[in-house]
Point group: C2
Chain length 109, copies 2
């Protein structure tokens, strides 16, 4: 009964279904890709495929747009968050290296 976290990120949903799921027009969804807010995969002949994560992100985008936020600003925000994420990961990896060399210290918990 465990859930496979991978499902959320598998790119399997076609644009028509994404449109139903998000309430956005296909035009809007394609435009947000053009503005680099979303990155679908493609089938062999070029049909876009999205993940549930993408659907969630699109809903976020739709909300921001409703508040008047521009696509450019949304992109800036995304990049900023990505930097934070990357920094966090680097930090964890560094910690891992230290532990590997100097031994595991039980953290709080």
């Amino acid at each position: 009964m465990r859930e496979d976290p991978l499902y959320k990120n598998r790119k399997v949903i076609t644009i028509g279904v994404v449109s139903e799921l998000t309430g956005l027009s296909e035009r809007q969804i394609r435009y947000y890709e053009e503005r680099k807010l979303i990155f679908p995969e493609r089938t062999e002949r070029g049909n876009r495929k999205y993940s549930f994560s993408d659907v969630e992100r699109l809903i976020d985008i739709a909300n921001k747009r409703d508040e008047g936020v521009r696509t450019y600003e949304i992109r800036q925000e995304m990049l900023k968050n990505k930097k934070k994420e990357d920094a966090k990961i680097r930090n964890q990896m560094l910690r891992g290296q230290i532990n590997a060399r100097f031994g595991i210290q039980k953290g709080k918990n």
Copy 2:
């Protein structure tokens, strides 16, 4: 970072992608539906939509078929398992009722 268990059961994948994911032909996938082994939903105009659960079930079916098991037998087996599941759920509900009336007893844990 929690996973939403609902993703696994959301019917959002079109038959073409399911075919890629399972390695089964669309003909086979439709036939297994005809034999009541799988139950996709439909879009407004009738296009089939499958869940990740459906994909897993199809892979199971494919394996059984490879071993020579007939669709009828696969269906019988599924029905038997479903009965077991239902019995288990009835059992849990009954237990819930008892607890509700006579108080909660901490189980082993």
